[in-house]
Assembly symmetry: C2
Homo-oligomer: 410 residues x 2
Amino acid sequence: MLVVQKYGGTSVANAELIKHVAARVIRRIRAGDQVAVVVSAMGDTTDELIDLAFSVSPEPDPRELDMLLSTGEQMSIALLAMALRAQGQEAVGLTGHQAGIYTRAQYGSGRIARVEADRVRTELAAGRVPIVAGFQGTTEEMEIVTLGRGASDTTAVALAVALGADRCENCKDVTGVYTADPRLAPKARQLRDITYEEMLELATQGSQVMHNRAVELASVYNLPILVTSTMVDAPGTLIHGESELEERNRVRGIAHDTDVAKITVRHVPDRPGIAAHIFEPLAEAGISVDTIVQNASERDLTDLTFTLSRNDLKRAESLMPAICGAVGAPGFVADQNLGKVSIVGVGIQTAPGYAARMFRALFDAGINIELISTSEIRLTCLIGADRVGDAVRVLHDAFALEAPDRDLRD
Amino acid sequence: MLVVQKYGGTSVANAELIKHVAARVIRRIRAGDQVAVVVSAMGDTTDELIDLAFSVSPEPDPRELDMLLSTGEQMSIALLAMALRAQGQEAVGLTGHQAGIYTRAQYGSGRIARVEADRVRTELAAGRVPIVAGFQGTTEEMEIVTLGRGASDTTAVALAVALGADRCENCKDVTGVYTADPRLAPKARQLRDITYEEMLELATQGSQVMHNRAVELASVYNLPILVTSTMVDAPGTLIHGESELEERNRVRGIAHDTDVAKITVRHVPDRPGIAAHIFEPLAEAGISVDTIVQNASERDLTDLTFTLSRNDLKRAESLMPAICGAVGAPGFVADQNLGKVSIVGVGIQTAPGYAARMFRALFDAGINIELISTSEIRLTCLIGADRVGDAVRVLHDAFALEAPDRDLRD
């Protein structure tokens, strides 16, 4: 089988780990598989490079920041290729440019437009392991563009799709996808499998296991992703299209996010176009808004609340006075100490009682709900950032997630 | 005037220095000049990357080592471009590939085949300072190749030639070229100018000021190079084609090198072809041999001595038994604790007495000469490594190099 293995920064954080990864790749090849590898920057390299950038400029130019950050992955590919060769396996490091990862000049947040995988195919055919730099692509004009934090996962999926690989393997410092973050919920249990949609909700809602764009892309091309451990020989969790366990617990997992801020625009005159007036300036400033809720408060006036990343709050606050003026609102209030907790699972909206059970569990634990939002397969409550850990634990208990799946095939 | 400024690793070793360099470039532009910049990796980055390579492989693959090392300069160009922009000057970092520095796939020791400077010209015309990564080039197949240690100087000269620049400025942690290394000879004096040939001998003979390939290239295209200080506002030393000071002291400077080893092949049967038999295997192993001297010792037998870098001695010694066998020599002796001291100046071979004065000064200081070699403008003595400092000082005194040049134009 042809697999694309992706190793994250923690898996290649130092020379010993890089040698371990090389040995792991070689074992796989000796077992008869073809392997292409995508690798992230070592450990904290990207953060260190960002610090370096801010030490020379209060607002580093995005093109130059990408030029700088892309060196992190370039180091990793070279070192891993060397380590493979030192262990007797031909290998070749390829930058995003050399690997044909094309993107437009969206510095800092490039989207992969296409993968020209000829070079990677040639290397595979010659028996050399292609080691491709994650997180980076090239424009037609040979400019280096990074694909956003965590986007090495996306590189791996895109490459797997382009190569027609049997699957993508995301090799991490965890053994798979859990029902909740084990650091918060001691009873958290590893899942045997999960659907793209469920994984997407877990990722979007703050789970660190898989980058959401990677899951979206895999979903579109129906490419299976195995989340597995770099260090431990364990089965992992398969992310795929079908839910094989019809009678399983409908709540598959609990996602959380402690990085949430909220802005409420008060007493907005309730007329058409106010949403556009509020959100267009934010979008132009590159600020991503997450949940949006509108509550009628008084006659002809409405309160509009939205959540955003805490990092973006200061910039958003600086735009709000002009926005309030434009929509005729007297003012806004901001709160930055919020978190989110979500239950995720295909079918929770069609089955009764899940929402009630969630609200009851939070209420019993004395956790105040600030805002509720839902999707097809998710129920999210905005709560105080300091109560997120408690909320994950009580929800894990409330939905008995520690009980193993019953596999209908068994 | 259009200048290419080159900043070495010491000049950009940290954020403060990078900001200083940015300010220095901007001052120059405000004074009315056009500036393109070539920059090296920060401080000890290259050495750290080499250590990293050897931590994953006992013998890092040359292609992958170049992939790794080229990240050092890529970091510098990004940071310097950011620093310039932060100070209000548009700038753009360009990798060797983006700047059109083409080379063949001679990993670790690429030679610049051509410079396609269109992108650099476009940036200059748009009022953006092009910041080009030194030390690296690209092949036609988009492979990254480094140009050998110290080759950022060469990148700068090649770019200056391609752009038709008025001159190249090599901005360093010294204020110019000295009559000898000031750390060894306290009376060393900075030169106002020096010819390419003299500079070449100083560089080849161990002076750290300019990389010899850069001087060669500048000499071919008659491009003036100003060696000047990054930190201090001082006149510097101009390296150029003509010697303006006909009546100046013919000895321009004293070069030294403490990294010398010597191998003597004893009692070689004196017949045609022995030199080829000895030096071909060394060349194939990539070992550079410096001085070669052959002394007849006994009838029909000769002793052949050559010098090489101490780093190459161990590998050379491993090849010598086979070489001795091939030429019918009974054996060889090696000495690794040697150094070289040279006097350099146009005209020293045509003017009488310089050699005698050099040998007398060394003799008076009790320094034994192991080997003598000469060129048109150089006289070199091989001596014990521990006496190199003494030799530089006594020669500086013997040729009165502390006395200033008399400028005929004054």
